[in-house]
């Protein structure tokens, strides 16, 4: 695997990244999915998910990370997150008012409970994760313009 990736950091960093990046992604998903019963939630989970991709980009160079999650896909997920959050809020009008918790609340302290709050967390994590990754990609891909230097 390391032969085709000549760019990036040394073999030690690449090996550790290969071992840990999946765990970081899983931990982000854990924080995200338990956001309504423990500390954490959409923002923190989204940041950790974005950090796993940023970790990949730092170790392997930008081509590998952009192959996993390209600029267009990140932009798409960011828009989808905002639209999903808004549409969940508008779906409350089916029962009465904005942001109505129209799903059943379930049993407290269980994973599948609290109505629309886990869905809102997922929408926020799409927005935050893709947005943070897009900021980093924008900073990485910013090329100096030629012939502008004094």
């Amino acid at each position: 695997m390391s032969k085709e990736h000549e760019k990036g950091m040394s073999i030690i960093v690449k090996t550790i990244t290969r071992l840990t990046v999946g765990l970081i992604l899983l931990y982000g998903i854990y924080i995200l999915s338990h956001g309504h019963i423990s500390p954490g939630g959409g923002f923190a989970g989204g940041v950790i998910i974005a950090l796993s991709f940023i970790h990949l980009m730092l170790a392997y160079g930008k081509e590998v990370a952009l192959k996993k999650l390209s600029k267009g896909v990140a932009s798409f997920f960011e828009s989808i997150g905002a639209l999903l959050f808004l549409s969940i809020a508008f779906l409350g009008f089916t029962g009465g008012y904005f942001f109505l918790n129209f799903l059943s609340k379930g049993e407290p302290f269980k994973l599948f409970s609290a109505g629309i709050i886990p869905l809102c967390n997922i929408a926020i994590s799409f927005k935050v994760g893709a947005g943070l990754f897009a900021i980093f990609v924008a900073l990485v891909l910013l090329k100096p313009e030629k012939g502008d230097k004094k």
Partner: protein, 112 residues
Amino acid sequence: MMVYLLCLVLFCVGLYCVLMKRNIIKIIVGIIIMEFAVNLFFVLVAYRMEGRAPILSPDAEILNMVDPLPQALVLTSIVIGLATTAVLVAIAMRIYEKYGTFDITKIKELRG
């Protein structure tokens, strides 16, 4: 009382970094240190002795919990700090493109 003073010391470290350093990247790091000193101060103000996180849990009943309002404020503050840091880094990269240096004393386009 001591921890509040330590927060002030941390804030002064950041202020020293902003005022005395010449490298733009070091100035940005100083701004981040100041920001997080203020965040730390808010969280410490909200702390109560033997307090738990203000979240209901199935096993234990909460007798004494910390103040949740500054924590919510600090969460928003962290998000805004992230955005301002990204803008600052982008401006620093633009400056490096135009002048070829991060030293603020060498950026002399407007000298009279």
